[in-house]
Amino acid sequence: MNTLPPSGQSGQNIVLTEETQAPVLEFQHVTISFEGPPVLSDVSFTVAPGETRILLGPAGVGKSVLLKLANGLLRPDSGSIRLFGEEIATMPEEQLFPLRKRIGMVFQEGALFDSLTVRDNVAYQLIQQRVADEEIDERVREALTFVGLEETFSLYPSSLSGGMRRRVAIARAFIHHPELLLYDSPTGGLDPVTSTTIIELIVKERDVHRTPSLLVTHRIQDAFTLCTHHFDKEKNAMVPLPKGTIDLGTTFLMLDEGRMLFDGSLHDLVNSSNDFVREFLE
């Protein structure tokens, strides 16, 4: 794991090293609107292999829209979106399905299929691929163990709490070992204890599998936790990094009124001179 003191300039060097690899996801001058002013305007950024990008911004600035653009659920009015090196902004829906199978997405409210059991929700993609039942059961139990919900195997989503539904959604996103993870406000509306559990799962996935990810949140405390903690495999728990160090693979983006205001490291974020960024952090 790459860690670095928050103060200092070497963060720039690390970013340069990572930029030598082709990005997993790349937005270039993306604009989208829905019968009105643009929701996103001229947005550009990249997600490099192994990188976790945290998209910050107040509610209603287009964070979820950006996430849906990232896997082709929405189409931009202009600009380019490259996913795994392929242009998806104009790609027909039929060709997008194989690409989406390589992505794991966690929706804001979980978006579990309420007519299916937890087992069938988590295994949804495997069932469509006609994987053998024994293998499905084994992989579902493994995924549920990862999120600490083994006992919910046969339950329906309606009998789960909000936090448990989010964790099942995370298990569904993780089960096929995706090449990119998209989290849409995974802790939104949850109590602090459950939020910490969810963040711990995200840190665990980041540090165990190094899956590149794009995480949308308006909770600055969650973003800082992601930067200042790592997953200790021996303790099987999330623990703080040594004082003064941060996770270098976790960087920030900030949106306001559809425009990308900030793109950089935690160090750059906390030292930003932008009024909006400073106000948001306070």
Binding site: P98, R100, K101, M105, F107, A111, L112, Y124
Partner: protein, 258 residues
Amino acid sequence: MAIISIEGNAKQLVLTVQEYSLFAWRAFLNLFRPPIYVVDFLLQSDIIGFGSIPICVLSGFFTGGVLALQSAATLASFGATAVTGRFVALTMFRELGPVLTGVMVSGRNASSMASELGSMVVTEQIDAMRALGVDPLRKLVTPRIFACITMLFFLTILSDFMGILGGAFVTVFMNHQNGTQYFSMAWESLRYPDVIQGLVKPLFSGYIIASIGCFYGLKTTGGTQGVGRATIQAVVWSSVFIIVADFFVTRIMLFIFS
């Protein structure tokens, strides 16, 4: 202001027709392309077909009964009560059986499809399905269309049969006429073109019910209120289109068999 509103509504109508045409065409093509979700087809057949049996039995029986009641008085004035069976059989097989079954099934299933898919849209389940690499059109819409066409065909036969039984009940027990004569007239009056005409119509009605129900469901916007709106539109438009399609199919059938 009123002119702007009319223009806006007209544009919206044209856009909806365009969207529905594209949707219906894609859904139609999917009927012949893999993957075919057999389990979903069987599940939907159960919901649409077996679930609609009671309403088709009741509506068919009482429609046949009311036809016999209404016709008996008129036919009696010409001394032709003996042809009640012929009247009921022809009307049920050619028109009322297919149309009434279509409208009844539409009320039950177009609404159910629109509300179910609409709820999935507003809770992001459709987006989740797409994000998991599964095409909702193939997974949700095609099995419903296939099931609706198949089941409506058999439900129409059931409804026709129940209509003739309802007519017989009224003829024998209320009009005190000869039952054998009723069935004999009904049987002798039916020709293959009548039966074919009556059995082609549910194929169109089934497609209309499922495609419109799914279209409005997947087009839902505006939360739970939007689900309510989608349900109403699905039932209204599928019922209207069943009657419109009935007119054109009848015209074509009469032309073919004339």
